[in-house]
């Protein structure tokens, strides 16, 4: 055994006990803890169980059943650590439990075992309290669903995490008198969204929410709460003992779940949303009938009200409408307040518009106004009197009926031709009349005949010009037409050649020019490119292009004559140019 081999063997021997220790679960430990000792019925408590064992293997454990408790395994995580050559494994499990009935629940020890090693937790005790409001008998039954009714408190009663309140400003009111109900929600928990109150339809009441839900911070006891308040105005529509509420609300609470795995989601705490229903108490309201002895004209208006009367004009001509507007404003249920009678001294045509009600929220009260128009149409000149308008309402604060009477309103009715506008005068003096006549013109909005003729003629001329131009353009693009024009042009040049004195004086040059023109005419006629080619080649190309054999023979003879004439000494004209011209004309006519 060499020195280095000895070192390796010693190192291996040293590792053996370490590996054995890592493989065998030696020290076992298990702990369980409750996040709270007391909950209400329906609320959840969280139990965290941490088991630890030396070595790789970690025995499983089971949560012991507890009668009356509903247990859900919410999360698990495991952790390994290697410290000083010792491997340990930790398992953390989270359980959520809730009880459906109040009582004292004992969670038995949770046991784990591995070989000879054993460990167990201490027993845990969870107290589940009943809903305080239900124990006080204020809450209505849940409707036979078997589930317990929602509580008005969630969490420890001494320091609840959520609770609701229901406050009414009075317990005894008159018929149609406003009762202000305040639905209050307090929370120390973080909510996913603001709570939504379910405002119960109270039998015998007409309700009107007083604006949007309000939010603020308040201190209750020794804790700070976020409070949400929804106010509702109720108006009783019948008398007797009526019940308001309860108000129900569902809060979506974001609860933090202790992260069992430090590596889960980068160590951020996990949250889950728990929906918690809460319910307020209800309130009993005594609705008194209105006292006897209602004054004439009472139409059911209750509140602190006042009436205004307006007339749109104090002078009108016969046939013009006079509009009387009654406005009732103040606090109260203006939708059920009737309108006062409006009458005139004469029997007139009259028109009534339906009343319009506008309301606003002022604190805990509804303020508004009810407006109604009535138009009278006087037919004859004279004096029109709007009789006193009487408005009667019941004032619940003073517990008596009250009446307001307007003064008579007198409207001067002028003859039809002398109107109020004339009596009052126009707002500004009109421009003076004209002394001269004209200008003259038509009152119908149709086009004058001249304008029609001009416009239509212009369009027609444009159309005709466009048509002619199009025809010309098409003709210029026609190959037959272009060929005919080219042959005519060549023939013209030949005619000019014969007419030119200078050309007659030099017949040789004229003959050469005529030969060139004839060759060009043959090329144009048969669409062949023969310019500059030897005569034999040119004739062959023309023959291949479909040229008539007789014409080709005639062309060859004329070209021979012209060539001879071009190179012969000066002498008399033999008429070759005329024959060339005749041949060109024949080519053109043949095509034509």
């Amino acid at each position: 055994v060499t020195g280095s081999a000895r070192v390796a063997v010693l190192a291996l021997l040293a590792l053996i006990p370490t590996a054995a220790a890592a493989a065998l679960p030696a020290g076992l430990a298990i702990e369980a803890s409750l996040d709270r000792q007391r909950v209400a019925v329906g609320q959840e408590a969280q139990v965290t169980v941490v088991a630890e064992a030396q070595g790789v293997a970690l025995p499983e454990f089971a949560f012991p059943p507890v009668p009356g408790l509903h247990v859900v395994r919410a999360a698990d995580s495991q952790n390994f650590s290697w410290v000083n050559g010792h491997l340990s494994r930790t398992s953390t499990s989270v359980f959520l439990m809730s009880a459906s009935a109040p009582g004292r629940y004992t969670i038995p020890p949770i046991r784990i075992a591995s070989g000879a090693a054993r460990a167990q937790t201490s027993p845990l005790v969870l107290e589940v309290g009943g809903a305080p409001s239900s124990s006080s008998g204020g809450l209505p039954p849940a409707g036979g669903s078997g589930e317990p009714p929602p509580s008005k408190v969630w969490g420890d009663e001494s320091l609840p995490e959520l609770f609701v309140r229901f406050v009414v400003d009075r317990r005894q009111v008159y018929w149609n008198q406003q009762v202000t109900a305040r639905f209050l929600f307090y929370t120390r928990e973080r909510l996913e969204e603001p709570p939504m109150w379910e405002i119960a339809e109270a039998a015998g009441f007409w309700k009107e929410p007083l604006g949007e839900m309000r939010r603020g911070r308040v201190r209750v006891g020794n804790a700070d709460y976020v409070a949400f308040e929804q106010d509702v105005a109720y108006f009783p529509t019948r008398t007797g003992k009526l019940k308001l509420g309860p108000g129900r609300v569902e809060a979506r609470v974001m609860r933090r779940v202790d992260a069992p795995d430090p590596w889960s989601f980068l160590g951020f705490p996990e949250t889950r949303v728990e929906t918690i229903p809460l319910q307020t108490e209800s309130a009993s309201i005594t609705v008194l009938p209105l006292p006897q002895g209602a004054l004439p004209g009472f139409r059911g208006a209750v509140g602190q009200l006042v009436m205004d009367v307006k007339v749109d004009r104090l002078a009108a001509r016969a046939g013009e409408p006079v509009t009387v507007t009654t406005v009732i404003r103040g606090e109260g249920n203006l939708n059920t307040a009737g309108d006062p009678d409006v009458a005139a001294s004469l029997s007139l045509r009259s028109f009534e518009s339906p009343a319009t009600v506008t309301s606003t929220v002022a604190g805990y009260k509804i303020r508004g106004e009810r407006r109604r128009d009535k138009a009278f149409v006087p037919e004859v000149p004279g004096r029109l009197s709007i009789l006193p308008i009487r408005f009667t309402w019941f004032d619940p604060e003073e517990r008596r009926y009250r009446t307001q009477v307007s003064d008579s309103i007198h409207v001067q009715v002028l003859p039809g031709g002398d109107s109020s506008a004339a009596a009052a005068g126009p707002p500004e003096p009109p421009a003076a009349p004209r002394r001269k006549s004209g200008p003259h013109g038509a009152l119908d909005l149709g086009p004058p005949a001249g304008a029609i003729a001009l416009g239509a003629g212009s369009i027609a001329a444009l159309a005709a010009a466009a048509a002619i131009a199009g025809a010309r353009r098409r003709a210029q693009l026609d190959p037959k037409r272009r060929r005919k024009d080219a042959l005519a042009r060549i023939e013209g040049e030949m005619a000019a050649l014969r007419a030119d004195d200078a050309a007659r004086a030099a017949p040789g040059a004229s003959a050469a020019r005529a030969a060139s023109l004839l060759t060009a005419a043959l090329g144009v006629r048969y669409a062949a490119d023969i310019e500059g080619r030897p005569r034999e080649d040119a004739l062959r190309i023309l023959r291949n292009a479909g040229a008539d054999a007789a014409i080709l023979e005639e062309a060859a003879r004329v070209l021979d004559e012209l060539e001879r004439l071009a190179f012969a000494p000066p002498g008399p004209d033999s008429g070759a140019i005329d024959r060339a011209r005749a041949l060109v004309r024949r080519l053109a006519e043949e095509k034509a």
Partner: protein, 211 residues
């Protein structure tokens, strides 16, 4: 039928001074159709309309100051303008097509297109107005007040009280009643005698003269 703008204006001004707002609005609206740029016509019509609006409890724009002719055209002037634009456009287009001005061919084409497009737009606009006037002529309430009631076999609806000087359009007629259209919607039926068609006002000026 040719109407005298001054006769209409004088009749409208006299009605305005007498407080007969319905006839004043009818006469002056007709005068403005013939002589739309006349400041006196515009002013008195604005005064009449403002008085009508004031009587109804509404606000109306302030009458324009005297002078300062607006860029308004009568229907006939508009038609002539459209015809001239079409003629100019056609001439420019023909010159461009026939190559009369080769150096300015592009300018001719652009000018022709612009003139033809403007002429066609004005023609469409005036044509729509003429068609509307033919189908639903403009009219003015000339009685102090009249109730626009629902017609026979029509669904019940609230009667609408109309006052002198209100400008409406007229739809169908039945017996002695005509259908009143306001804002594009029929609102009820009124007696034929309660309205004056703006296009018919010259015959009332003749009657006034005879009276």
């Amino acid at each position: 039928v040719s109407a005298d703008a001054s006769a209409l204006y004088n009749a409208g001004t006299a009605a305005l001074e007498q407080g007969d707002l319905g006839r004043a609005v009818a006469f002056l609206a007709a005068a403005r159709r013939v002589d739309p740029r006349a400041p006196d016509v515009r002013r008195n019509l604005a005064i009449a309309e403002r008085t009508v609006a004031s009587a109804r409890g509404e606000s109306a724009p302030t009458p324009p100051a005297a002078g300062g002719p607006a860029l308004a055209l009568s229907a006939a002037e508009g038609w002539w303008l459209a015809a001239l634009l079409l003629a100019l456009g056609a001439a420019a287009a023909i010159a461009g097509v026939w190559g009369l001005h080769r150096k300015r061919a592009r300018l001719l084409r652009v000018s022709a297109a612009a003139a033809l497009a403007a002429g066609a737009l004005i023609t469409l606009w005036l044509g729509a107005a003429a068609l509307l006037e033919r189908r639903h002529p403009e009219a003015v309430i000339v009685v102090a007040s009249v109730e626009a009631r629902r017609g026979v076999d029509e669904a019940p609806r609230t009667p609408i009280l109309m006052q002198a000087g209100e400008r409406v359009r007229i739809g169908r007629s039945h017996g002695g009643d005509v259908e009143v259209i306001l804002g594009g919607s029929p609102i009820g039926w009124v007696p034929r005698a309660a309205v004056w068609y703006v296009a018919d006002t010259p015959r009332y000026t003749a009657r006034l003269r005879s009276e």
